[in-house]
Structure formats: structure tokens, C-alpha cells
Point group: C2
Chain length 205, copies 2
Amino acid sequence: MQMAPNPRRVRIFLAEKGIEVEHIDLNLREGENLNEDFLKINPRGVIPTLVLDDGNCLDETVAICRYLEETHPEPNLLGTDALSKAQIEACQRHVEFDGFQPLLDAFRNTVPAFAKRGVPGLPAEYDAIPELAERGQRRYTLFIKNLNALLANQKYIVDENFSIADITALCAIDFAKLLKIELPEDYEHARRWYEDVSSRPSAAV
Amino acid sequence: MQMAPNPRRVRIFLAEKGIEVEHIDLNLREGENLNEDFLKINPRGVIPTLVLDDGNCLDETVAICRYLEETHPEPNLLGTDALSKAQIEACQRHVEFDGFQPLLDAFRNTVPAFAKRGVPGLPAEYDAIPELAERGQRRYTLFIKNLNALLANQKYIVDENFSIADITALCAIDFAKLLKIELPEDYEHARRWYEDVSSRPSAAV
């Protein structure tokens, strides 16, 4: 399994939809995303990036997922009507801003390979901020506690339907293992959910 | 004009759509968003929050805008087909993550009223991080430089159509004035765009 969590969000989304695309892997620790060849494709230097057959290029995980959902509506992962689309988008952002992004802050601002790259992509000139790593870790720890409480009453993050919000949370929880943060043993609801979503074939990517 | 930039994004979106809703203002500096009454409505303690007639409650600016777009499709602000929806979502996130959020980091981690509330909403127990404020200001300064370059070749942030990406950028640029950061005089393309979007009736909210 490749480690970078944002590309994995898209890989899981693709697998759920049964869409096959050509993948090209870049080594972020070695800065391959900042090489001239890649910057011609995406001047921001961030991954994942989706290149369409007509040459159009999309970045931002959730925007790529939007394109895939619009072109391959089934199985639905972003909602089916105004309210469910908005609820899934809200919950996806809760997971992203309360858990996923704080975890990435913790990682980026801790790992020596990113000591001068505290922000993804270009420009690669932001020093790591140890206090932000600590804040990120505290926020992520609270996120999984709240996730456990939420999942006491429902099967998935948005009620009874698997959605992009579950994908974002799963990728965060697996990525947290790099920082040696596991779901606590007594988070029974979060662990039940984790077993469920991890056992889907899409999670193997 | 109320200052908090996320509620203003929704107010502009509503004004563009010609939708009227009841507004209730909260004083964030005094922590009214953390009062018991508001936490009953939104336990995360963040604004804006939209309460629907059926009692459903939505937070997260972009999710609220999604609901409004789905229920009031015209004028279109989030795209009309798979590609334009994805491009607008990508660009909206570029503005949000490269400019708007760094600016909010700069504000939150500088202003004394938020010295113990470095993260919006609950829990209100994150100390401000001065280095994050400085990083945020540097990132925002780069964002407006890049915005000026982008707008040399197109009318709006996504080609020739006003979209949610323009709303997010406008709210950032006006909010930056609180930190005494103006668009530089020689950013002629960004200033032409700013004059344009600021002159729309929706910008007066």
C-alpha cells in the first residue's frame, strides 16, 4: 500500500466505482512532486492529480472525486439529493478539517524529510512548526474520540450509507499508524466501523 | 458589513441566488458561538450554520452553498457539467487552502481575543501559535501574487464565469484589510477583478 493519504482517498473512490486508470507514483519524501516534469502537469506540485484524455488536468482530492461521481454515478458516494449531498459534504469536511488535516499537520511538521516543506507543494520553503505538530496531534486524538461517539448510533459517518466521509476517515486512521497512533482498544464503535470499512475490497488499494 | 468571512461567503451566495433567509448574528470575539443555546443547534460551535424548515441543520460554508445550489440552481455558481463542477471545486479549494485558510490562521493566531482559541469552535483550548500566524501571512501574500498572475489571462478565477471561487477570494481579500494587508497597487489584474466582483450587488452584504 502506498502511504500518501490523499492519493489513497482517490484510489479507494476509483475502486468503489470500478473505474480503472493508469497510475504513476511519485516519491514525495524525495520531492519528485517538485520536479520540472511534474510541475508541467501541475504547477502547484501536489498529488493526486488526474489527467483527462482531453488533456484537462484536475487536482484536489475532493474535486477529482466530484468528477468521478458525475461521470460514474453508481455506487453513489456523494449523495443523491440536495440534503444528502449537503450532509455528506458537511461531514466530509468535518472529517477533513477536524481529523485528516490536523493529522497531516502533525506529520508534515514532525518528519525530518519535510523539515523545510511544512506545506505541501510549492513553494517548498516553509519551516516545520513543532507547536503545529503538537496541536495537530491533539486535534486528531479528539477527532477519533468524537468519531467513536458518533458511530455509537449509526453505521457510517453519514447515517446508514457508506460515503466519501468514510473514505477520508479511513485514510486518516491508517495514516496515523505512521505516527504510532492507533484507535484505542475501548473505542468499540469506531473499531466496529473500522473493521467494516477496512474489509471492503476498495480498502486494499 | 459583518466581518467574519465564512458567514459572508454564504451571504453573498444567497444574494447571488436571490434567496432570503432569517439571519441571527453571533459575536465571535465574545464567544457567543460557544454559548449553550448555540451548541444545542450546532455542537461544533462554528458558523455559519443553516437551520432548515424541517429542523435539519447544516454547517460548513461550502456544504451550505451546495444545498442552496441544488435547491436554487440559477444563477449557477458551482458548475453545470462534470468538468466544470470539478474545475470550480478544485479552484475553490485552491483559494480556500492557499489563501483563505492561511489568512484565517494569521488572524486567529495574532488577535488577542483568540489567544486561547487558535482553532474555531469547540474545544476552545488551543493556544495561538505565532509561527503559524507568520506562515499564514506569507502564504496569503503569495496567494494574492499568484491570483494576480492568473487573472492576467481570464476574467474570473475559473475562466469567464463568476463562481464560488470568486466569492471565497473576495471574502479573503476584504478580511485581510483587518490585518492591514491590501492588494498591492501594481497588481493590476487582481485589482481589475476585485473592482468587478466588488461592484456586484451581492458584495454589499
